[in-house]
Every structure is written in structure tokens, then in C-alpha cells.
Symmetry: C2
Subunit: 200 residues, 2 copies
DNA sequence: AAAAAAATGGACTTGCAAGTCCAGTATCCG
DNA sequence: CGGATACTGGACTTGCAAGTCCATTTTTTT
């Protein structure tokens, strides 16, 4: 990585990444072209290769990083304070809303799939995202334990993992079928079972 | 659809579909080429376009259909008779085993994603698959109700939907991170919560 | 068995998108 | 102020993969 990036350079680089992200929200990665990115960001070929010498894949990887950060930032306000049942409900609503609005597109998903094993580091992006996400959920469950709302012997990681899987699957189905039922069901069932565990 | 397909023609057509499916298990759809399919199936360009006049997309859609059928066929022996807790456990083990072996690849997923909205019918493949899958799960839950193992007032569809979401998410995470923890957690949690509902 | 229809082989065209090159302009730094 | 270094523009090359075409062989049909 060459660090010789002036302020203007950084700005341009960011403009490219965000422009590329926008393009990828409109069309799939397999049909999105560098010319699309150029058109949207008013840059030239040489700039793209100046900032991303390895070419398209390097750019896409940067976009993936950007998008992954976005996912957590978006829900941080809710995900960061899951210390009451009401907070969990608010978070649930926000997740459903966010993905219902996003609808078809999952730039991150198709991005990682497309980069796949060919690009080292692509997998890391999603691995890291999943770990952080699950960690936040686990923290939330522990907060409920601390508040005495849940028994201490609950297997926190196990429940967090199952919940995360439900979310991912719900979003996947939402994206491939257009129906949000499964996402809602997974969240409600997951939270509901948690509440039932409290009653024991 | 032209029905003028002789026995030999049908055979060749199937050979192409299965060969293409095999290719797609090795490489992503975006890098898989018609020449790959030709090489593997010992066919020529003109044969591909003879059997799939619309070109690559039509072939890919046919492969998607084929793969979707496969998914259900594979687990039918287990999925078809979920009438005891032991049967559920056997099914669970088989799902985990199957996807752990399959590992990285999910031809169907990337296929549908790639065809996306451009190809009408691509979405239908996955919609149908999900509906049938969920239906089988629901049937299994109802079987337990009939056997008196579960209360009659349980919301069957809701639980089936949540379980399906958990599976899909678990598989997704397995594929993008290489870890099967989430798939196992989702299944165990889903079945476990079902059993706990029995105790009430 | 001969005409018709279907199946096959493979060379050729076409189009597009990634990546290269070099020349020109702005910006930084001593 | 002046050299160096970073930034930008756009024409050009290259390679590959989808799709076309027609000649040839095999099978079906009457």
C-alpha cells in the first residue's frame, strides 16, 4: 500500500468507492462495468487504476469493506443498547424496515460471492462482519442476564449464533423471493423463545 | 417449446445440463464459460444453441431447475417422515452433513442471483423451492401435533418459516465463512424450542 | 430406400470491457 | 521559484467469450 495520498487524492478515492457502491446497488456486479463507475464519478480509467492498481477486484474489495462497515453502523444505535425487551423490539423493527426498503439488492452478498476465493481478503470481510454482529447480539443477551431478565445458565453464544443465522436466512429469502415473512418470523421466534426462557 | 426431441436429443440435452451443473460446482457462474461446458460434455457450440436457443441464460435457468429439484430429493427420505423427535434429529444430521460436504459451493444460490431479475422464471425457481421446503417442515410439525407431542394451538407456519430462515442463514454463513456452527445452532435451537413448547 | 427432419462439428464474426500507455496538468515542498 | 511528485484525460491494445453460419452426418418417417 502506497501511503502517498494527498487530501485531494483521498477525496477522489472515496468518491470512486461510493460511486461504485451506488452502481452496485443498481446492477449486479457481473454486469457492472468500470465505465459505469467512471460515468457516475466523473473519473477516467487511469484514475481507477491509479487508486486501485490491481484493477477491478481491488476496487470491489474496497467497496465490500465499505458496505460491511455500513451494515453495522446503520444498526449501531439500536444494536448498541439491547438492555431491555423494548430495546430488542425497536431493533427488530429497524432491521425489518431496513431490509424491506433495501429490497432486492444486497451488494455485499453478491460482491463477496463474486470475489470468492480468488481474492484473498474477500472472505475476511464477511467473517469479520458476522463475528462483530454476533458479538453485539451476545452482548445484548448478557445485558438482559445482568438485568435479571434472563437466567445466567443460558448458552449465550449459541443463542446469538442461531439468531444471526435466522436474520441472514430471512434477509436471503426476502431478497430472493421478495417476501419479508421469514425475516419477521425468525426475529419474532428468536426473541420470543428468549422471553420464554425468562419465564422458566 | 419445440417438442421435436428424439431420444438421443433428450439424452444429449440432459448430458449438457448435468455437465453444466458439474462445471458450476467447480467455478462461479461469472467465470464459467460455454467452452467449459462443451469440454466437459463433449458437445459443440451449435449443440448448446440447438438445445438452448436463447443462449447461456436459458441453459443456466435449466440448471437452476435441476439443482432445485436435487435439493429436495436429497433430503426427501428424511424430510418426508418427520413424525418423531428421533426422525427430526436424523434429518438435522443429514442437513448438516450434506452442506458441510458441499462446502463452499452453492450453484443454485449464485445461479439465481446471477440470473436475477433479468431472466423471468429465475425467481420462481427459488420461490417454489422455498415454499415446498417450508411445506414439508410444516407437515412434520403437524405430524407431531397429531401424535400428541405438540400442543394443537402452535402456530405451525410461523415456526416452519423461522426454521427455514435459520437453515438458509446457517448455510449462507457456512458457505461464506467455512464454519458450520451457525447452521448447527439454528437447527438445534429451532428443534429445541419446539421440544420446550411440548413441555408446556 | 429415399426424402425429410433432427443432431453434430467447427470455423468465423462481433462486441465489449479490462487493462496499458503516454502526454498533460495540478499540487506539494525545499 | 522550480523541481519533483501526485493527479488526470483519453486514445489504444488485447483477449476472451457469446452468438452466428453453414456444411455434414445421423436418425426418423413414409
Amino acid at each position: 500500500m502506497h501511503k502517498e495520498l494527498t487530501a485531494k487524492g483521498k477525496a477522489t478515492r472515496n468518491r470512486i468507492i461510493e460511486g461504485a457502491a451506488a452502481v452496485l446497488r443498481e446492477k449486479d456486479v457481473s454486469v457492472a462495468t468500470l465505465d459505469d463507475v467512471m460515468a457516475r464519478t466523473r473519473t477516467s480509467k487511469s484514475q481507477l487504476f491509479h487508486y486501485f492498481p490491481e484493477g477491478k477486484d481491488e476496487l470491489l474489495l474496497a467497496v465490500a469493506h465499505h458496505e460491511a462497515d455500513q451494515v453495522l453502523e446503520d444498526q449501531q444505535p439500536y444494536l448498541g443498547c439491547l438492555d431491555s425487551w423494548e430495546a430488542w423490539q425497536r431493533w427488530r423493527d429497524q432491521v425489518v424496515k431496513r431490509y424491506a426498503e433495501q429490497g432486492e439488492e444486497c451488494p455485499l452478498g453478491s460482491l463477496v460471492l463474486h470475489l470468492g476465493r480468488s481474492t484473498p481478503g474477500a472472505r475476511d470481510v464477511v467473517v469479520t462482519l458476522m463475528r462483530q454482529w454476533q458479538e453485539s447480539l451476545a452482548t445484548g443477551i448478557r445485558a438482559l442476564q445482568t438485568a435479571g431478565q434472563l437466567p445466567a445458565e443460558l448458552d449465550v453464544e449459541h443463542r446469538a449464533a442461531a439468531l444471526l443465522a435466522g436474520i441472514q436466512g430471512g434477509v436471503l429469502i426476502l431478497q430472493s423471493t421478495g417476501r419479508a415473512d421469514h425475516l419477521r418470523a425468525a426475529l419474532d421466534q428468536g426473541i420470543g423463545d428468549l422471553r420464554r426462557a425468562a419465564a422458566v
